[in-house]
Structures are given as C-alpha cells and as structure tokens.
Symmetry: C2
Subunit: 358 residues, 2 copies
C-alpha cells in the first residue's frame, strides 16, 4: 500500500494560528507534541515503508514537509506550483505511484484531519485495500453523529463484499454540503455517511477514471509523465503544464460520476478540524468549566471556552462558548457559534493587503 | 483657593491597565495625551498658582506624581505611609493648608475622575468657594442621569444662598450606595444628587469638624502638626503616627454627621471611571459599530465593544458589549455587564500571589 498525504491546504478558518506561511497541517493543533501532518503519518507509519509515503503540497510548503517528515524520501514530496484542488493533486500522485507499481493501492489522506480511533481506521484501510484490488474506487464513510451541514454525504447502497468482517457497500450517491433539513434526514435514515475525503484505490483504476471523466486533466497528466520520461526529473511538476490545469475536486470530478465507487462505513472519531468550534468539541477539557486551555488562564464564571495563549495571561469573566486565540502578534475573540466566520476576517485582511498578519 | 488632589487609589476594576505599581490616575485612560492626574490638574490649573496644589498619595506613588506634575512643588506632595481612606488624607492636607493660611478655601478632588463640562465645573467651584467662606462644608452634587447603584446620593434641601446665579442648597442627607429601587426613587424625585466626592471648605472649618466628629483622628493630626513644628519637616507624615490612624471615609466620618453641609447641584458630565463599562459609555466611539478602539482592530459584526490593544491586532467576530484589553503581558476579555467583577480576577491573583500581573 502507498499513502498519499495531501498537504496543500491553507486552513484559513483556524486563523490566526493557521497562517499563509504555516497552515494548520504544520501546527501542533490537536496534540502538544506533533503537528497534524506528523500525526497523519504516524497513524499509518507501520503499514508501509517510508518510501511508500508521498506528500503532495504546494512549492512554498515543501521545505516544511521535508523538515517535519524527514523519514519520507525527498523525491516523494510532490510540490505543486499552485494549488489546483484535490483532483490534480491526486492525479499527479497516482501517476507517481503507477510508475513504481501499476497495481499498487494508494490511500489518499488529508494532512489536516483528526482521527481518534486509530485501530478502527487501520482496519478500515485494510478492508479498503482489498476492495481496491477488486477495482473499486473506495471511500471511507463516517457514521454521522449529528446533522452537520459543513460536510458532504455519501449514500450507501447494497453490500458489495466483505473483508475481515467489514462491510463494503456500493456508494449510490455523493451529496455536497446539504441544507439542514436534508442533513437531518440523512442522519435519521442511517444509510448516509460523512464524506471524509479519504480514498483508497489502485493507481491504475483512478487514472482510468481520470481518462474517462476528466479527459482534459488526464491529458495534462500525460504531459507531466512525458516530462518525467524526457528529463528524468520524476516527481517534478512543470509550472507551464500545471497552471493550464483547471481547479477541481476529486469528489465532483470523479466520485459523483463514476459507477464503481464503494463506501466503507467506519466509526473513526473523525473530524476535519474545520474551525475553532470543532477543535473545542474535539479536545479534552482542561478544567471544571469544560474549558480547553493552552497557556495561562484565570477565569471567573467562564465555561466551555477555548483559550489558547502560550505566552500571555488571559483573564476572562462571565464568558461561555467563546474562542480566544493569542498568537503573539494577533488576538482573535469569537463566539464558538461564529467560528465559521473567522474566514471573513482572513478575507478582509487579504482585501486590505495586511500580509503581516495573514 | 487651594486644590487638594487625592491620588492614592489602586483602581483594581480597571485592571489589567491599572496596576498596583501604576494605578489608573497615572494612566492616559480618558485622553490620549494626558494621564487622569494631569487632566485633574489641567482642569483647574489657572484657578490657583502651582504652589496652591497639594497632592496626597501613597509613598510608592510619590515619584510618579512628581514626574507627572513637575509644576507642583515637591513639598506639596504628601506621601502616606499607607492608605487610610479619605478622612485622614483630607485631614493632613487641611493641616498643611491651614499653616499657609487658616482662612484658605481648599477644594478636594479625586485624581481619577472624569469631567466633560469643565466650564460648568469651574463655575460650580467658584460658587462653592463663596459658600465655603460662609462656613459651609460644600460638596458638588451631580444630577443623576440614571439609577446608578454604585454611587452614594445626597438629598438636597432648602436654598441656603446663591452665588453668581448658582443655587447652594442644604445637604439634608447622605445616602451610601442604595438598592436599585431606592436609586430609581431618587432619580424620579429630582432632589437627589450623586455624591462625586468633591468637597470645598475652609481648612479651619473642616479641622473644626474633625475635632468634633472624629476626635481620635484629630488628635493624630495634632501629633503630626507637633512633629512638623519640632522637626521643620512640614508635609512629612511620620509612619508611627499614621499607622495608628483608623481607616475612614470623609463621607461617613464627617459629611453624614455634620449640620453645616451644603450641596451645589451641577451637571458636569462627571464619571468616576469606576469600571471598563463606565469607560466604554464615556469615550466617543471610534467606528460605525459604536466600538471604542485604541490600537488595531478588525471586527466582523462587532458592536458597542471596547478594544484596547496598542501593539497587537485584535480580530473579533460576532461580539457585542464586550471589553477586550491587551496590556502586552495580560489580556482581559469580559462582557460589559460583568465589568464590576474584574476586581474578582484581581482578588484571585492576589490570593495566588501572582504579583507579576498585578
């Protein structure tokens, strides 16, 4: 098995910790010791040798990836000249894997997601590997714990096969972020799963799918392969080819269209750590008030709040469900329920060209 | 006229700006250019020569007073070995003034109060001077704008005299911080005024009142005067005498008991700047959201909040009526309505011995 870690995101909803130069996957956000990228690697490190790990990231982040994952061979770090969405990133990784072994199964993982049930995750991956070898495009479907409208959903159908007791079901339908009513219906129905963006397939299967459903992208991938053949610079992504590629997600480009898609229902304690609110729900409380605290905090009547301030004392009085993040140069204060709108601050700063705090 | 500025307060409700070493009267809280002490002096500076200004403060703050008011002769800064409340502070100042001129009128002002209507204030002081020369203990009574329960009230009675068109009324009663219902009744009645702690009287009149209503304190004051006579160190407060004095306010010790008390109703735009909430109401808004901002602030849906952060960017989303104060080493976040409880944080820090942030 190969592991493709997608590490090109910008993570603007975790600003001000997540920054243009150092987005959330490179930060120790979910664990004090390790960055999210390192946690992603560690979770599956012993399932494959280090030269089976491939990281796709943007050019600017490649040095950080090398620093944080020195075990992974430098050649395996694929540096995009510019972000083009998940489809091109997975495409170039599939190309890279296929050269090593056309029959290889590759698991695509996000570098900035959180999983609590590692054992269950690894069991699901092994089952997925078996289904992938049968020619399926496999995705992990997370049993939804509530009607989240910020995630996509997958409708599960008939059982296609079983592997080590794990059911592998046909993915009937991919639904992008739904309205609340629909989300509630999905949760009640029991046959719908969160699309966690984790995909397992043979390199050759996904490249066939690119050829069929995304022929333009496939054409560009072939040009990249030709460049590798000509120059011997395998893994290098030529800017002129890359910039001609249109941005697209793998969900929209392939998963919603292909007919050989399977879903493995899994209960992983998974989160995309998509906002400060998610993180507050995720991390264990630090005090009697159910606050999550990193740093020095004095709270009078303060409950269920996230306080991040490794250097300065934060004093709070009479707060509930509030996020306070102090990064030394910037302080964010935001109610938990408005955490999604942190990206509006980032947008404003971008519009104003305030790059010193972006 | 002499001016006695009382500058010994600790101002814990404006923590973390107000600190043990540098409480609010020494900070530029209500004006960008001048400290509250300097504003107190400037408001009346041309009503008397600089050697008619006396500042009573604690020993620890005397160097700061000298630095901030270099115009005031050093000998006029009376340094208390320890705070003993307003009665002893005013007593020692009265002693000091009486030596210069027994008939002199002295106006006692707090170093940490805010007044917007300076002209009206000066008019009231001149009227008070005339009443003081008639032997009255005069206080300024602020027309209440709402039923504040954090202030004391004065009930006004018959008109005793007029000076330059200003009515001087008998003070019938002093009421300490009332219950809300009483405060509402006082405001509706129209004959009640906020006790702003501003007093005007002849040095000899108030010393007579000390002799009558606070004989123990008067006795100590006589010992201090004897020390001045013996040593020639006029203005120095010997520790052994001072520490034997019991703490007491002038309101409780004299004003509530004396029968020659007058009140001058005045509409001064006065505030004791007693909390961050008061300050938020006081200062002019800086933006369309009615926020009061010092420093760099990016606010999405942020209204009626106080943001103080001269160095770091503060970003806020979806906040209303919140106080955020960043002093470099400490950040306070507190709803406006809980501003009184900032002193609980200070108490906690004192209990924990966290002097680095006190």
């Amino acid at each position: 098995m190969y592991f493709v870690i997608l590490a090109g995101g910008v993570g603007s909803r975790l600003w001000p910790r997540s920054r243009r130069q150092m987005p959330k996957q490179f930060l120790n956000i979910t664990s004090p010791e390790r960055t999210m990228l390192q946690e992603t690697y560690e979770r599956v490190a012993d399932m494959a040798p280090d030269d089976h790990f491939i990281v796709v990231t943007s050019k600017a982040y490649a040095p950080t990836v090398r620093e944080q994952l020195p075990q992974v061979p430098e050649d395996n770090i694929l540096a995009e000249p510019k972000g083009r969405g998940s489809a091109p990133a997975i495409g170039v990784a599939a190309l890279f894997v296929r050269r090593r072994n056309p029959d290889a199964v590759m698991a695509c993982l996000s570098a900035d997601h959180f999983i609590t049930r590692t054992k269950e995750f690894r069991r699901a991956l092994r089952a997925a590997e078996k289904a992938a070898k049968e020619g399926y495009l496999v995705t992990l479907g997370i049993k939804p714990s509530y009607a989240e409208t910020g995630y996509g959903y997958i409708e599960g159908g008939e059982v296609l096969m079983k592997a080590d007791g794990t059911e592998i079901r046909k993915a009937v339908r991919f639904i992008e972020k739904p309205q609340l009513e629909d989300a509630q219906r999905f949760v009640a129905d029991g046959n719908f799963y969160w699309n966690a963006g984790m995909f397992i397939w043979q390199a050759s299967t996904i490249l066939d799918a690119f050829a069929r459903y995304m022929p333009d992208l496939y054409q560009r991938l072939m040009e990249i392969e030709a460049f590798w053949d000509e120059t011997g610079k395998v893994g290098e992504i030529p800017e002129e080819i890359w910039l001609a590629i249109e941005s697209e997600t793998i969900d929209y480009g392939i998963m919603e269209k292909a007919d050989n898609v399977a879903v493995i229902p899994a209960d992983l304690g998974w989160s995309d750590v998509g906002s400060w609110a998610t993180l507050l729900d995720l991390l264990p409380p630090s005090d009697d008030g159910a606050n999550v605290v990193v740093g020095r905090h004095v709270g009078i009547d303060t409950r269920n709040s996230l306080i991040f301030s490794p250097e300065r004392l934060i004093a709070t009085v009479g707060l509930e469900n509030i996020v306070i993040v102090d990064t030394g140069d910037v302080i964010l204060v935001c109610p938990k329920e408005r955490a999604q709108d942190v990206k509006k601050v980032v947008q404003y700063l971008e519009e104003q060209g305030l790059y010193d705090v972006l």
